[in-house]
Structures are given as structure tokens and as C-alpha cells.
Symmetry: D2
Subunit: 433 residues, 4 copies
């Protein structure tokens, strides 16, 4: 990001700098907001209504909620006597910020047919106009406010990923297997054999240390003690995971955590979320519809329970988040990582046989680390403090981003987190030992 580069340049006069930062931020704002429009473009108004499970939200809600964030935490704070676009939106589009007010119950979001998709688009345009005025006008905005605005952009990127995963889940409930986009038709060769790469041992530093944006949960920087370990050079493929399935892995309790085994029974799991056997052949529901299972591609839509059971079945384990971060910290977020910008919306096979691959993009990688605060962590004061800290319970950390993540959203220190039974995100497996 621009401000990072500037930070190392000789300090310009403060006023000029602030104006320039505002203009840069506005350019970023437009890019991020347009990306939301872009991924929503293939969707019908009807597609934007359905909430296919309590964990998912209707697309219209995502589009409105991310807008509500800017209205609530930026516009309302800075504009005197602010007139909201619609007073009802304060209630309808608050997700979980108790300090801002009551929330329309999450599992009931799919009951709302209004405001409709056009209304939500107008809401977005109205707020975009006000933000434009604010950022491109004469006045210099408070540093804290600019930080919240930047937070809002990262927040919107997170919801862009959720739009794709929630739409995928919604379409998967339809027995006609509708497609979100046209299928890519290339065939893939099996990737090279998985190799083991030794990681560093001893006391190392961990957490975000830069000057750019990072979430509160990526800090404070602190020291961790690493044991001797090795990481797999690439992700586990569908073909490798299929061996576990066909060896009876879903019927053998010894591989599973106790809660995982309960879940296997209750949810009647016998394969990853979107795998289906059609006329004896394994297929996978994708955003391009139902496709034959690509054995070379990374396994995807597995829960922590499945990732852990697979590792145990192979006699190894999942990496800790500290181990993962050490491996990743040496690398740039790869230019050729398979992020949402590729337009593939699906993980792709490893392309090389040398060195560590696929750390970024493709699928979020489950770690063995419960999602806990780093030593000394304190959530920020106020409603913004409800962003991360209060979810640090019964979730596991995932790293690296996926094919539904924006490349600009990811850092080596980035911590994503989901409960151990979640499967509708693009989640996969890297082994450690």
C-alpha cells in the first residue's frame, strides 16, 4: 500500500501528506467497492434474497451491511446532524455490534424481501457519494477516522469472500445445480510428489510488525518458541483425500476427535461438503456447477475435524499457526497466487515441484492452533473493539487466503478463524510433522 512506501521516504509537510493519503484512500475505496459490484453482477435479484443456513447471509445483506459500516462508523461520526439514508437500516444491517444498538436476528435475515436489490444498490450509491465528498473535499480528516475507513475496506473484502461462499452454499441446495459462472475447461495433471521442508527452531518473532494496515488480532508482536518441525511442500489433493474416503476414513472413529466423530454421525458426513457420487462417479459442486472431481486440485470444503482426521490417518499432524507464519514470513504474497482476481473461483493444482508452494491463495489452510489472543492483546475501545477479540473461543486459525480472497487482503500474519465443523469456506489441508 502507498502509505507504507511513503513511510520510508523523507517526511513531506504534514498537510500535503494527509491530503495525498486521503486521495490514495479514496482510490482504494473505489476499487474495493467496485469489486463488490463485480462479483454480484452474475446474480439475479432472487439469488440475493436466500439465506441457506444461519451461518450464511443473503447477498443483499452483505452489500448493505458493508455500506452500513461506512455510514455508522465514518459518516455518523464526522458529519454533524447526520441524516441517515434510512433510519431502519441502522437496525437491519448491524451484524453484531452491541455497542451501536440492537440487531435484527441473524437467522432471520432471509425473511426480508425488502429493501430489494435496487434499493440496496441505491443505498450503496448514496453512501459512496457522501464518502467521495468527504475524502475528496477540502477538509482534512482525523487520522483515527481514516483508519476506521481503511478498516471498513478490509471488512468489505471479507464480506466479498463471504458473498462467494454463501452463494455457493445457496446454489448447492438447488437440485438443479445452477452455475454462478461458466466452467473453466482445462484438464490438470497430477502435481509433483509432496516433499517435506524443515522449518526454523527456537525463539522467533511472530505477529504484524509493519506500518500498513493489519487487524488488531495480528498483534502484539511477540516471541514464540518453535519446536523442530517440517511442513509439506504443497496442499493435499482431492486424489490424496479420496484415498482416505475410500479406505473408510469416515467410518473409523480412531482417526477422529470425539466432537468430530459426533459430527460425522449427526451430519452424516462421508466426504467433503460438495462431493457427490453421481452414477458411481465422484463429482464436486463448484461455482461453475457440478463437475467431475479434479484429482489434481487441492481438496476443499473440509472442516478442521476432517483435516485433523486426515493428518492423523497419515500419521502426521496439522501445522501450528506459528510454524505456518515462519514459513510464510519469508515470502511475498505470491504474484501468481490463485486469488479471487483470477476469476477461477476454485483452487488449482500446484504448478511446480520445487520448494514451498500454495501458501497463499487456493484454500485457507487449517492450523492446529485454537484462535486465542496473542500475549498482551487488548481489543480497541468502543464498538470497533467488537471486531475480533470476542470471537476467540472454540475456533481454529486458518492461514493464507483462498481463491475467493482478494490478493490485497492477505498478509503472512493474517489470521482467519472458523469453528472446527465449518465447511462452507474454501478450506483445505497442509500437513506438518
Amino acid at each position: 500500500m502507498a502509505s507504507s512506501t511513503e513511510a520510508t521516504a523523507p517526511a513531506p509537510p504534514a498537510q500535503v501528506d494527509r491530503h495525498s493519503a486521503q486521495r490514495n484512500l479514496y482510490a482504494q475505496y473505489r476499487r474495493v467497492r467496485q469489486q463488490s459490484d463485480r462479483i454480484s453482477e452474475p446474480l439475479t435479484p432472487e439469488d440475493c434474497v436466500v439465506q441457506s443456513m444461519p451461518d450464511a447471509s443473503p447477498v443483499r445483506w452483505h452489500l448493505a451491511h458493508t455500506t452500513w459500516f461506512f455510514e455508522t462508523f465514518v459518516l455518523k461520526q464526522v458529519i454533524e446532524d447526520y441524516q441517515p439514508v434510512d433510519p431502519a437500516f441502522e437496525y437491519l444491517f448491524n451484524s453484531y455490534y452491541n455497542q451501536v444498538g440492537k440487531q435484527f436476528p441473524r437467522p432471520r435475515r432471509g425473511l426480508l424481501s425488502r429493501p430489494g436489490l435496487q434499493d440496496v444498490k441505491q443505498y450503496r450509491q448514496a453512501i459512496d457519494g457522501r464518502i467521495e465528498e468527504l475524502l475528496t473535499g477540502e477538509s482534512q480528516l482525523d487520522e483515527g477516522l481514516l483508519q476506521v475507513l481503511e478498516l471498513g475496506l478490509h471488512h468489505e473484502q471479507q464480506h466479498q469472500e463471504l458473498i462467494l461462499t454463501d452463494v455457493k452454499h445457496m446454489l448447492s441446495c438447488n437440485p438443479c445445480w445452477p452455475a454462478y459462472h461458466l466452467p473453466a475447461t482445462k484438464e490438470h495433471e497430477a502435481p509433483a510428489e509432496l516433499s517435506w521442508i524443515t522449518g526454523p527452531e527456537g525463539v522467533r518473532s511472530m505477529g504484524y510488525a509493519g506500518n500498513d494496515f493489519a487487524y488488531d488480532n495480528e498483534g502484539p508482536v511477540h516471541e514464540v518458541l518453535l519446536q523442530l518441525h517440517e511442513l509439506a511442500s504443497r496442499l493435499i489433493t482431492n486424489g490424496e483425500y479420496l484415498e482416505f474416503v475410500e479406505a473408510g476414513g469416515y467410518r473409523q472413529p480412531q482417526h477422529w476427535l470425539s466432537l468430530g466423530w459426533n459430527t460425522v454421525g449427526e451430519q452424516e458426513w462421508n466426504a467433503p461438503l460438495y462431493w457427490h457420487q453421481v452414477d458411481g462417479q465422484w463429482c464436486e459442486f463448484t461455482l461453475a456447477g457440478l463437475e467431475p472431481l479434479d484429482l489434481a486440485a487441492p481438496v476443499c470444503h473440509v472442516s478442521f475435524f476432517e483435516a485433523d482426521a486426515y493428518a492423523r490417518w497419515r500419521g502426521v499432524r496439522l501445522p501450528t499457526e506459528a510454524e505456518w507464519e515462519q514459513a510464510a514470513s519469508a515470502r511475498d504474497v505470491e504474484q501468481d497466487g490463485n486469488f479471487v482476481e483470477s476469476g477461477l473461483y476454485h483452487p488449482m493444482p500446484a504448478r511446480s515441484s520445487a520448494g514451498m508452494q500454495q501458501l497463499f491463495g487456493d484454500v485457507w489452510e487449517w492450523t492446529s492452533s485454537p484462535y486465542t489472543p496473542y500475549p498482551g492483546y487488548r481489543p480497541p475501545a468502543g464498538a470497533i473493539g467488537e471486531y475480533n477479540g470476542k470471537f476467540m473461543c472454540n475456533q481454529y486459525v486458518l492461514r493464507g487466503g483462498s481463491c475467493a480472497t482478494s490478493e490485497s487482503h492477505i498478509r503472512p500474519t493474517y489470521r482467519n478463524f472458523f469453528p472446527p465443523d465449518a465447511r462452507w469456506q474454501f478450506t483445505g489441508i497442509r500437513l506438518a510433522r
Copy 2:
């Protein structure tokens, strides 16, 4: 209906008669199908997606299912090598006909964003075109097939009523109280005092005896033994029901059936379904949005449990369906009954002080009669036989139609039925003693 008039005219040559009957039926077909379009017209595509509870269905589903009925039970039966509009619809839009095939699970109808509203409209047009060909062509159709087609029209009228009640329920889940149509603004005077009208005693005939269409459950004609009784001259008003509410009726178990009292507790009932207290004033959610409670209008959206408890609180009872039918059989379905054709979509106060009023239209009237087969009743053979008989358990009979019913749909012998806790239909109270 036309065929009824013809039945009393001198019999024409059979072939001419059949052709004329087909043309009449086609005219009726167009009228009924256009009515579905008319009531869907105010709805957005988003409105047509939501399923707000398992008992309700999305509007798109109603529009497609009624069309599926004609495709499945008429077109497929008569056209050789019939090519369905879409093979998936056979599964998606089957409601509960086990003999026709598997059904997409009812509680999941709201998960389908596709086919969209436009697709469903095209489906309707495609089937309408094929039906037009069939009915206006040269060939004479089998009598049984014409009966099934007529059944399909009455079936569609039932779903038209459900569209309105399901939309009302869906909109009521929205804290913004959206309106389906513009409010009517007249003020109403309180109706005349309720009087008691003595009904006939002894053995009487019951059930449908004419030559027009009637459902299987309205027959066979049979004799019933009536006790001495009186019926109330009009429906119970909101004002009268409010006395029960304010006297603590919802907190006093002695008025309630045991199951009703459980339901009051579990559902936290304290007034009819769409009543709300706003700033100390009672309001009612209507298809025109939230309105002040009209004390003169009939109470509406009460369950059998509430109707029964109210009657008990007043020391009287609900009518049996035999008593109701005797009172109604003497009368034409009133020309001025408040049916869906009035465009009011809400029950209206009784307009006269003399004689029996409001038997037809306004609200369905709960009877004390469990929904059971008449003596000698047998459901028809085949899938059509799944229409009525299999629901004869744990439901109560309602009579007379409502402000959401088509006038042409109702007869004195017409039997509607719902479980005793159902409240989302336009259901009200007539007393007996």
C-alpha cells in the same frame, strides 16, 4: 358456472355440448389464471422468494406448482410422448403427491433462488399455450380429463388465497411493515348488537348434492341429526375480542383447551397474530401495512384455540359444521360478500342489523367439528385421491370463505380445514349456543 345452467336446459346433441363445455372451461381457465397474475403484480422478484415459515411457500412456488398440476395431471395424461417444459419441475413443484414421485422437501422451498420469477412466468405461459391448444382444438377431450382440469382451477384458486396469506406473513416478519397495496381509508361504525338466530332441529341432509364442481370431501350427501341450537347473527369484532384480551383471557388457563394453553405459553401468544401494541395503542398489521386496530371489523388471524377459548369465556360455543351448513344452505353466496374481488384484502364490519350476516367472505369461520370423512366417503383412485382425504386428522373445519377467497370458489357445502393452532389464514369467530 356455465355447465350448471346448461344442466337445466333441454339436452343438446352430445358432441356440440362437449365442444361448448370445453370452450366454457377454457374461458374459465383464462379467468382463473389471469387472477394469479393480477394478485402477483404488486410483488417484486425478491418478494417471490422468501418462505417465512414451513407452512408457507414462496410465491414463485405457488405460481409454478399450480402450473405443474395442469402439466402433470392433464398434459402428461393426454399428449403422447409429452415433452415436459423442464424435467426438474416434476420434482421441484410436486407438493405432496407421493404417487407421482418424490418431492423437494417442503421446508426447503425458500432455499431455491432459481428458476426465477421470469422463468416461472415463462413456464406458466408455455403451459397456458398447450392448454389452449388442447381445449380450443378440434379434438374432444375425455370427460374425466375435463373434470381434472376443472379441479386444477379450483386448486389454483386455493393457492391464490395462500399467496395472499403467505405474503402477509412474510411482510409481517419485516420490522419496516411493508405494504402489499395502498390502505383503504374509510372509518367504520360499530356494527349492530349481535343477536341469536335459531337453527333447525332433527334429521337433515348435508353435503353437496348439485351437478357442478365440488370437492370429494363435500360428499357423499348424508343425513345428520341436529340438536336445538342458535347461531350468532354476525362475526365477533375486534372490539369484542379486545375485551377478552384486556380481561386477561390469555393468562387464565380455565378458558383454554389443554393443548391450546400449552401453545399460548410456548408461542407467547397474548393477542391475535398480527396485533401489536405501539406506544400503548393497539394496531394490526394488514396487507396495507400497520394500521390502528379497527374495533368494528371482525377479529381475524385467530387460531381455533383462541376462537374456542373466547367462546368458552362468553359461556357459549362454536357452531358445528352441520349447524353452519344448515344456516348457509338457505342462502346464495352473497353478491355483496367481501371476497378477494373487492380488492380490500381485509375483513369488513357487518353492514346490516337484520338477519344472518357475513356467512360468506370476510373470514373463515372456525367450527367445533374435527375434519373427518362423511359416512361412506372414499377418496378417488390414483394421485388425485391424495387431494383431501389424507389430511383428515388433527384439523378443524372452517366454513364460508374469506376476503382472500374468490367468490366463485365458495359453496355452502365447502369445507376448509386447518390445524387448531394455525393463525396465518384469515380466520375468525362466529358463536353458537
Copy 3:
């Protein structure tokens, strides 16, 4: 009962009569109370704790609740400044009498380990002592009070039957199949072919018309209109029902009411409640443990749904309660009926080939009649009025008593009632057409 005989005798001086009635009632009291002890005798303290489902109650609760009835509705009413045996019992052992006070929640009765079985026995003895004083003392008791006391005895007989059915259900949850009593070991021959016996047609009288005890729901006497009909001469046997099972009856929706078919699926029914296939052979859990299925004995522990589906499969129907009562009214409750006094605790095959058999005892016979009030029925005032009327919803009438019923408890007009999915009572099938 004594008072019935006296009613036809010349009227004695009122005072003597009253004293004699009290003494007779006390004799009856002792017989009924001792029967509760007798059937509880084979049970361990542990057996008397478990509540195996919300519909069932622990034996200790039944023993205490029937005692509570006498304490609450007799002793407290007549003894000035009555000191309860334990004030907590008023709350713990109230079943559903809202007018007497709050109730310990029914589904939690199995959570109470105390008072223990000995404590409950002492409670019974304490109340028995006070009742003895009351009835055998000098004072003449109010006629209404004697009626309530008599009601309490019939109430206790009902709970004696529930003790047996609840114990049977509880033991059936134990994979070791424990027995309540020793098995009877006779072998049975198949009964004679079922024949059809014509019942009366036209207007007939129905309901209890005598001077002895009867429940409020057996009256008022009123006229009913009977259609021409025939009743089966005996109950359906296990062998006959097995044909339905083996013909796939539990997998074919066309025989079932819609709610019944849902229940078959949700509860995974594939045979009557206590049938089990062990090594390919059909067995039945009985109060004597697991036994090979006796094909000659009446089928038992079927729900209304199953009884109705079986009748439909055979092309016939269940009797109405009016038809059943006409057949039964001509007969004494048979001397050789298989009631609880036989000590068999299981239904037995029909013993004769001539005429109507098994109307009384063996199994309760499902009728097609929903449980509704007779015309003119009003529940008694006060808490006693909560006994029957408030349950008149979503239940079906059963007639004739079972092998777990006391012979002295049954009359031709006796109306039992259970929801259509209940199976843990001794319930069976008589056909009609």
C-alpha cells in the same frame, strides 16, 4: 356398585343409607388402594424412579399423585385447618390442575430421587389412615364429597393402568429385556375366521344413563344417527397384522394419513411398538420379557395411524364410537374378559367362534371418532372440571378396556382417549365397514 342396587330398592331412611354408603365406599377404597400396592409389589425402588419419556411418569409419582388427589380434593376440603403430610407434595404431585396451583413440570418428574419409595408408601398410609377416620367415623359426609372420593378411586384405577404401561415402556428401554413377572407358557391356536356382524341403523340413544359412577365425558345422554354398518366379530391378530407388515405396509404412503406417514418416517416405524426381529424371527417385548410373537393373540401397541392404515389396506375402516357403543350396550362387561385381574398383563386370543367377542378387555380399540364433547356437555365447575373436557382436541376415542384395566373400571359408555401417534398403551384394532 352398591348404590346401584339400592337405587332400585325401596328407599331406606336417609341417614342409615348415607352411613351404609360411606361404609361401602370405604370398602371400595381399600380394594382399589390395595390393588395399587399389589401391582407395585414386583418393582424395585430403582424401577420406581425412571421416567422413560415425557408421556410416562415414574411409578413413585403415580403412587403419590393418586394419594395427593384424596388429600387435596377430599381431606383439605372437609377438615378444618388441615395439616398436609408434606407441604411440598402439593406442588410435586399436582398433575395438571391449574386451579389448585402450580405444577412441577411433567417432563422433569424423573429428576426427583426424593421422596423415595418408602416415603411415598408412608404418605399413602398416612392418607389412608385419615380417609379411614373420615369414612368410618360418626360424621356423615356431604354427598358431593363422597362423589369426589369415588371419582378419586376411578382416577386411581386409571393410574394403575398407567403404572403397567409406563413400567413396560421403561423396561423396554433396557437392552437386557427385564421382566416384570414370570412368563405364561401356554401355546395358542389361531382363532376362528373373522366374521361381520350387522349393527343397528337409525336414531339411537348414546351416553351413560345409569345411576352409578360415570365420567362427565360419558354424558349427556343424547341421540345419534347411525348409518348401516357391520363390525368385525373379533380383534385383529398379530398374524393378520404381520401380513400388512410383510406386504410393505410401512413403506407405502397410500395407506396412511398424511400425519401418520410423517410419523412413520420421523420415528422410523416398521412394526408395532414392541416388535423386534431377533435373528430373523419376530419377537414381542412383554411384561414377561421378550417372547416369540404369538400370531394368534391380538395385535397390540399400535397407534391410531397404524390401525387406520391397516383398515384402509384391507379396504375397510375403523368403527365410530357410536357404532361401538351400540354393540357393547347390549352386553355385560364380560365375566371372562381379560382384564388386569387375570394377572396375564397381555392380550389373549379370542376363545370362541360365535358372535361378538373381545369387546371388553384385552386391548383398547381405536375408533375413528375424534374425542369431542357430546352435545350439551359442560365440564363441572372448579378444579375437578379440569378432568376431561380440556383434553378434547387432537385425540381419538378408544373403547372397551385392556388387559391392564380393572374390570370394575369399565362400562359400555366408557371413553378413553389418546393422540393418534400414541403406542405405549395396550391398544389394538377392531374393523368395521
Copy 4:
């Protein structure tokens, strides 16, 4: 334990040593088994039946399951052609060992009235007899087998604690508040002010390093990196926690983890599990019945969610398990710790004002550490390997034992674990910062 002392003594001839070890183990066996009898002694047969929630088990089940452990993992392994006491017990009393066979479903344990308490006692005696033969006989047992037997004793001590907590929960469901033992009647003075004691910083060793018994989850010994920190000198008292309650802590979302706040709402928590307000006074249900809340005693029966929220409200945090273990490793398990041997069955106020107190006994102390495997941990092979590892998900570590724990059961490295919403154990709060 004996073997520990011996380990430092000059090595005796192996054979003698083994015999002596067997004799010592048998003495230990008798002590532990007798303790189970002792704590069950105040219970009635009825008390030993109830399962008051799915997490709890009936006392009879605990007594039988601990016995089953010895039968299954010791006797069956070593005795040829072993004849089980009752073949059904293998199924009934298996808790969760999938590798040993199927298990009777845990939530249904309360449905079993048989085998009764006497039967279970006989089962215990039978197994005790066979173990006595085995250990006191001539033959020298395999070292691995002795280890399993020792594991069985620690396993039984765990269930002894569960007997007390499950009985407490069961009695708490009884509105009569029955007591398990007679109340202790001393009054307590408030403890000294809480002070903060600095812990060690840097790389430290953690995990069990001795030669005595320890669970697999206490190893391997490994290094951890500690931050600078302080621990509170004593446990939080009821009085201190009451301030949180009265300040509205249960109504303010900002103190709570998101899952915790959901739980507060769903479970309607407004105080620790057994606190009740009676006539405006706070009371606490104890194993001695309902008692006025002792403000000086440690708060007890709080969940992790409550412990965490309380710490947050005070601006501090809970200790990590590494911090706790460092503090504890310097100390013997205190001679005067309030363990089950005290017979108080309730936590007691801190008795001194100097130094670290109450680390052992009184209440289990919630740490902030999710229950995860130590680096390099692998569960043992076979069924015994199902003991600890498979539960390492969505649970938090607790340390130090409670007033319901045997003193001989606890070590500084001992790791207990429960889900964050569990409250029925004796769990309390020590703060850190």
C-alpha cells in the same frame, strides 16, 4: 506413591521388587475402591438412578463403569477364557471406548432401572475378588498390565469426583433442596486482600518429568516461553463475584466472549449455577442443602465464560496453564489443601494472608488455555489411547483439583478440561495479569 521412593533407593532384585509393587498396588486398589463405597454410602437406591442431564451419569453407572474398566482392561487381558460377570455389562458400562465395542447411548443411562444398586455392588465385589486373586497370588504380572491397573485407579478417582458433582446437580433439580450430608456450621471471616505475585519469565520446562503415575496428556516434557506476568495470591470470593453480579455484569455484553453472551441469553444465566435469591437474600445450593451465600468462600460453579468475563470486567485476565504450572511446580500439593478427604464438599476461604494460597483443592481453576496436545504428544495405541487425546477440542484446561478431588489424585502438572459453558463441576477463578 511407593514406587517413586523406591526409584531413588538402590535397586533390589527385580523379582522381589515386582512382588512388592503388586502388593503396594493392591493396597492402593483397596483404598481407592473403598472410597467409592464411602461417598456412595449416604445415597438411597433412588438417588443412584437419576441422570439429571446428558453430561451427568447415574451413580450406579459410575460405580459399575469404573468396575467395568478393571474387568475389560485388566481381567479380560490376563485371564484365559475369561468368563464375564455379566455379558451385558460390556455394552451397558462402556463409556466411549469405540475400540472395545458399541456403547449404550450416554443420554439414555438414566432409563435403566436394572441392574439395581445391589446388583452393582455385587458386581464390584466380584471384580474386587478377582483382582485380589490376581494381585496377591503367586504370579508376577506384566508391567504394562500393572500400569493399566494403576490407570484404572486414577480413573476411578475421577469418577468419584463426578459422583459428587452429578449428585449435587441431581439434588439441585429437586425443589425440596435435599441434602447429601449435614451442613458444617462455622462462620467465616473475609480473607485478606488479594495481592499479586510475580511469576518467572523466559523459557521454562513444563509437563510431568517424574517416575510416578501421570496421564499421557501431561507429557511430553517440553519448553515453553513465558511472558512477564503476575498471579493473584488467592481465589476470587463469592463476595467479590457478587459485585460483578450486582453491577449488572450479566446484562452487559461488552465483558463477554460472543459465545458466552449467547449462552447467557439462551440459558438465562444471571449468577453462578447454584445461586438463588430467596426472599431477597442470596443463597447457594450445596451438598448440605440450601445455605446463605458465604461471602468469604471462593466463588464456585462458574463457567469459563463467567470466569473470563469477570476477569475482563476487572481489567485483568485468567492465567495460562504454563503460568499456573510454574507457580505450582515449586510447591507440594498442600497438606492442608481442602480436598475430598476433608469431608466438607465445599470450597473454603483462604486461611492466610501471606504468599500464594489455594492453588490446590477448593475449586478447579479455569486457565485461558484451550486444551491442546503438548508438542510431540501421541496417544497410546489401543483402546487406552482413547482416554485423553480425542477430547482435545473446544475445551479449556483447569488446574489444581477441588474439594471433591482426592488429594492423592493431584499433581502440579495435572490437566483437567471442560467445555467453556460447563458449570456443574467445582470450578472457580484465579486472576492473572
